[in-house]
Amino acid sequence: MSRETAFPSPPPAPSLTLSGIGHAYLGRTVLDAVDLSLAVGEVAALVGPSGCGKSTLAHIAAGLVEPSRGRVLRGYRRHGMVFQDPRLLPWATARANIAYPLRLLGLSRGERRDRAEEAAGRVALDAADLDKFPVELSGGMRQRAAIARALAVDPDFVYFDEPFTALDVALKRRLQDLVIGSSRAARFGALFITHDLMEAVRIAHRVLVMDVLGRGIAGSRIVPGEPGGRDDGDLYRLVGAFLADDPLFRHIHDIDERRVP
């Protein structure tokens, strides 16, 4: 596998390429002419004001939504996905939830169990919590289980669709560190959708900014250093500089709640 070639050394072929993606909901154009390419092992954060279509773009890239125009080229082997709400099966235990994609892959019961427990260990889920139902778990635990479910399939690419929006600040940081750590350990690339610029610069190699009206990617900025190896003070200053001086981020906090996402 060419995954040995770590970013930022020149990657062989992109792991994900979107070209000329356009999409319309009920006749209203939400995305138009979006071009995007991610290198193997690259973690890219996609930011933009709410309602600009960044979630829709992730869903198109993951194959959940059929785009009206354009092409999606997936160079990776297998992807996982983490959504904003955990989307756990309410009737299944945490263990069975983590093993759910493995069940879809047709793995044997014993193998499913082993791999689910291994994935749970990677997100620091207690073995005692694995027999609990989602209703018995806290919000953070549920999202951990959702991340474990994505990691259980041994993906080389993961889609994160605003996964930590509903969590409090301390928990958010812990789970961000968890994503950074597992991305480094398992060497998966990721498309991380968020509207939190600080989250974006902590997690990603590169921050992509979506156009306010979904007309393509307005631009991108490479964040110096490797995720996990950066100083938080530097990152705060970087975000401050982005917001104060960089015209690319001018509309990042525009909110029009009348627009349907």
Binding site: G63, F83, R87, W91, Y100, L104, K132, V135
Partner: protein, 278 residues
């Protein structure tokens, strides 16, 4: 390896035993309710006399006397068989139709007026029609039960299928699940929570309609025995037959429907705080 295996099996066994115990313990509440009902019955008996309303104990004695006769068992078995036959057909037809309607809005729109018509026709009219079609046979009873019980199952399943969580569907698709895998791992599991209450209601109405159809179509069974008791003005025996019909229903419900349902509802129970369980 063997040790952990034994431990897993043991913990599963203990868990299962605990849940059986919980079910049995919940029987006390049911018993208390029945005792209250019997007290009211006794009060009615003392007010109106033995001819209008025989005492519960006298009814019970008549019931025991009937139960001692093998012929009575054959009659009860006949009714139970017809009711369960109609119920099984209704469950199959209702589930298939309900799934189709829940997954396709067009089918739902087509089915809704048909359902209104089916529910609007009183069961007694169906008995008359079925008697013309099938004469005094099993077919009359089974058809009536089928027509009476199917809409209940249909509505329950259709509602379940229509209220499935589309977010979970998307999640499954993100992990590569095809339509069939989504139906078997998500759709049916969600529908089951709606199916079981509907089945309980359908089973109850299956027994009631079966007895009614037997009485009116004069096709034997408990309904036929009730007709004889009425002809003899034997109120105690008539009530004893009612008791037997109800006992049969309770038996099927608590040995079949409830255990299966509680297996499916474990996660709901887990959400309840201590002391509120059941």
């Amino acid at each position: 390896m063997g040790k952990t295996m034994v431990r897993t099996i043991l913990s599963v066994l203990v868990d299962r035993l605990g849940r059986v115990g919980q079910l049995l313990w919940s029987g006390w509440a049911g018993l208390a309710g029945l005792a209250l009902f019997a007290a009211l019955w006794q009060a009615g008996h003392e007010r109106y006399g033995g001819f209008i309303l025989p005492a519960p104990l006298a009814t019970l004695a008549a019931g025991v006397e009937i139960a001692a006769a093998p012929a009575a068992w054959a009659l009860a078995g006949q009714t139970a068989l017809r009711a369960v036959e109609g119920f099984a057909l209704a469950a199959a037809a209702g589930t298939a139709g309900g799934l189709a309607a829940g997954y396709s809005a067009a089918t739902m729109r087509l089915a809704r007026p048909i359902l209104t018509v089916l529910l609007g026709v009183p069961p007694i009219a169906w008995i008359v029609l079925a008697m013309i079609w099938f004469g005094s046979t099993d077919g009359t009873v089974v058809t009536t039960v089928l027509v009476a019980a199917t809409p209940v199952v249909f509505v329950g399943v259709a509602e379940g299928a229509a209220t499935r969580d589309r977010g979970l569907d998307d999640m499954a698709r993100a992990f590569g699940a095809g339509p069939l895998a989504r139906l078997t791992t998500l759709g049916l599991r969600h529908v089951a929570a709606f199916l079981f209450p509907a089945l309980t209601v359908a089973l109850g109405s299956a027994f009631k309609v079966a007895v009614m159809a037997e009485l009116l179509a004069n096709t034997g069974g408990i309904g036929g025995a009730l007709a004889t008791a009425r002809a003899n003005l034997d109120v105690a025996e008539a009530m004893a037959w009612v008791l037997i019909a109800v006992a049969g229903l309770i038996l099927v419900e608590y040995t079949l429907v409830h255990p299966v349902r509680s297996e499916f509802e474990r996660w709901r129970n887990a959400a309840r705080p201590w002391g509120v369980k059941r």
